[in-house]
């Protein structure tokens, strides 16, 4: 007996700018699934979509803002976080999500990232890390592992990469997690947790970039990267982020590393503002 039911799967179509699809990302690109997780997380947590603002910088991941049917801002390279800071401070009712890539958030925008974490400002940052500048054709990024080949490290990368969870947790974030695109269910849950958590939340998503990074690093198909994640990922929730370094073809430590309650920027700001208003009132009475 077949009992036909309504489609219960949270359909993300209502959150997509369908008139803009198919999107510009390459076949096998990891950004799409991450964007999907984000959109499903909205339903999962029943967040009012009208209250969400998505801010992106420049690059492949920066294009996420253009495909979601939410208030969305595609800003300049590296400046998504300060733009988002202005939005959330001017309207604390907003649920601000910054969606950008590793080059945008950590290289050109690295200063803003650590300062936003330091402030513990109420926003969620989703960093799609594909180890290179995909939009410009695959140049070395701040997270590219040692020895990785890119179009600007043709003999191998000679720089040390950032360990993003370590960087961001040391800077003061309330929530830090890392997942790969293959850990799609955990990722969706993590984004949902991050979006509902007060304070600064950061999620690094290791994502395939088959057409540029993968092609130069023996993962020419998205599936090659996915097999690598399947084989080498180690889930270690609560692990010390400093032990989560990434190496070329090495293990990928994933999990929820940090989930703590800390007073947010708003908590202190509200207190100080009310103090200022009381002082002003007292002076006005005199």
């Amino acid at each position: 007996m077949i009992d036909a039911m309504n489609v219960e799967e949270p359909s993300i179509e209502k959150y997509l700018r369908q008139d803009r699809l198919p999107h510009i990302w390459c076949s096998g690109c990891g950004i799409g699934p991450v964007a999907g997780c984000f959109l499903r997380a909205i339903d999962r947590e029943e967040i009012d979509p009208d209250r969400i603002a998505v801010v992106s910088g420049i690059g492949c991941t920066g294009r996420v803002a253009g495909y979601v049917k939410l208030d969305s801002f595609h800003t300049t390279h590296g400046r998504a976080i300060p733009f988002a800071t202005g939005l959330i401070l001017a309207n604390p009712e907003l649920n601000v999500v910054v969606f950008s890539g590793d080059g945008d958030l950590v290289a050109i925008g690295g200063n803003h990232l650590i300062h936003a974490a330091r402030r513990n400002i109420d926003m969620t940052v989703i960093c799609v890390n594909n180890f290179n500048y995909g939009m410009t054709g695959g140049q070395v990024g701040p997270t590219a592992p040692l020895e990785a080949r890119t179009t600007t490290t043709p003999y191998g990368n000679f720089e040390f990469p950032f360990n993003l969870p370590y960087l961001v947790s040391a800077s003061g974030a309330s929530y830090v997690a890392r997942w790969t695109v293959l850990h799609i269910r955990q990722l969706e849950k993590a984004i949902a947790e991050a979006m509902t958590k007060p304070g600064f939340s950061f999620i690094e998503v290791i994502a395939p970039c088959p057409v540029v990074y993968g092609r130069m690093n023996k993962e020419p198909k998205g599936l090659d990267s996915m097999y690598y994640y399947q084989e080498k990922s180690v889930i270690r929730n609560g692990a010390d982020p400093k032990d989560a370094d990434l190496e070329l073809n090495g293990p990928i430590v994933v999990g929820k590393f940090v989930d703590v309650q800390r007073p947010t920027l708003w908590d202190h700001l509200r207190e100080v503002s009310s103090r200022a208003q009381e002082k002003a009132k007292a002076r006005a009475k005199v």
Binding site: H74, T76, G86, A90, E93, N111, S273
Partner: protein, 383 residues
């Protein structure tokens, strides 16, 4: 947001403080900045005043962040401002372009010091005038105002907010260290909120709203985040929907509108003040602090029997082209004193078009002209 606590009356304050008070009176409720001499006092005053009136002050990690936070706040529906000086102004340039492209109302104050580079941080300059016009990449128009006194910067800050809201564009206040640090009497009047201009809001329901569709005039109505309009805006060349379109046609349509919304409204935007130009053989064209010295020089020249006049540029950008062209037909020469080695003089010379001579009286910065220097230039020109 709490009730606006008005601060009215007569005060003896410097230009930076007057600027901050002007912003508060104009309804500015967000300031993001970064300390820099000689603009720091604007930030300091805002950090005291904004919390009192229910606004937000935040010191960002640099000027790039400050400018972006201001744009973000404006898109959340709050009037926002930042203040800086030379090096910080350079850092803000890219995102002034973003402000122009997204059509974001905001005000950027530049208390100019002498450059290039770190230059003379504590001393006066008027050396960013061309950067104000052309500093961000691409083809665009901008509005820049030049105040001459603390009272003037108070008044012009209100004007700046009005213009930015009306035309949806970042408006620059190109002041200088002397005006910023000089203390004078400033009268702060009651500014009725109804007298202030606010961006036009969309009148259509969310489903029908297109962020860059113009109805009346060239300035589209502006939705803000969190109201359910679910709009997309991008620094990429875009169409009426706000969607990126990578074609020469889309670029042509967009840039023409962004430029024309200012150019075609220049009569409304451009303000200048003339003294004794009707019969003048020589017109001193000045802006900012230099205007006040030029006033002396013109008076001294008149006392000597030289028919001199003064054209003060209140709005520096867009430039008062038509007026300078008209004046070039009735005067013999323009004398242009400025605290740089020749910037606005190029515009005057271009508009004079050979009909009247144009003489630059430069000052490299670190001080202001003496009236005698300008008088000397007037005398030489008169011969």
């Amino acid at each position: 947001m709490t009730e606006y606590q008005e601060l009215t009356g007569k005060f003896f304050i410097n230009g930076d403080v007057a600027c901050a008070e002007g912003a508060i009176s104009a309804g500015c409720r967000f300031f993001a900045g970064y300390p820099i001499t000689p603009a720091t006092e604007v930030a300091e005053r805002m950090s005291t005043r904004l919390p009192q009136v229910g606004g937000i002050y935040i010191q960002m990690e640099d000027e790039l962040a400050s400018m972006n936070a201001v744009l973000g706040a404006s898109w959340a529906g709050v009037k926002a401002m930042t203040a800086t000086s030379g090096p910080g102004f350079s850092l803000m340039m890219e995102n002034v372009g973003l402000g122009v492209m997204l059509e974001t109302p905001c005000v950027l104050v530049n208390i100019q010091r002498a450059g290039p580079s770190t230059g003379l941080p504590t001393l006066v300059g008027q050396q960013d005038m061309m950067q104000a016009r052309w500093g961000s990449h691409g083809s665009y128009e901008i509005i820049a105002l030049a105040p001459i006194s603390p009272q003037d910067i108070f008044d012009l800050t209100i004007t700046a907010f009005d213009l930015s809201e009306k035309y949806r564009i970042p408006v620059l206040i190109m002041s200088d260290e002397v005006v910023g640090h000089m203390s004078e009497k400033v009268v702060i009047p009651h500014v009725a909120p109804e007298s202030l201009l606010n961006r036009r809001r969309p009148e259509v329901p969310p489903g029908e709203y297109l962020p860059y569709k113009t109805d009346v005039g060239l300035v589209p109505p502006m939705a803000v985040a969190g109201e359910g309009y679910r709009f997309h805006v991008t620094g990429l060349t875009h169409d009426e929907r706000g969607y990126p379109v990578m074609t020469a046609d889309a670029q042509d349509r967009l840039i023409r509108r962004l430029v024309d919304k200012i150019r075609l409204n220049r009569d409304d935007i451009i303000k200048y003040k003339e003294t004794q130009v009707e019969d003048a053989d020589i017109i001193v064209c000045a802006y900012g602090i230099t205007t006040r010295i030029a006033q002396f020089a013109v008076k001294m020249a008149r006392d000597e029997g030289i028919r001199a006049g003064l054209l003060q540029l209140i709005t520096v950008w867009p430039f008062a082209e038509e007026r300078v062209r008209e004046l070039s037909l009735q005067t013999k020469a323009f004398v242009v004193p400025e605290i740089n080695y020749g910037q606005i003089v190029l515009e005057v010379e271009r508009c004079a078009g050979g009909k009247a001579r144009t003489i630059l009286v430069p000052h490299m910065g670190g001080g202001v002209h003496s009236p005698e220097t300008i008088l000397e230039a007037i005398r030489e020109t008169a011969q």
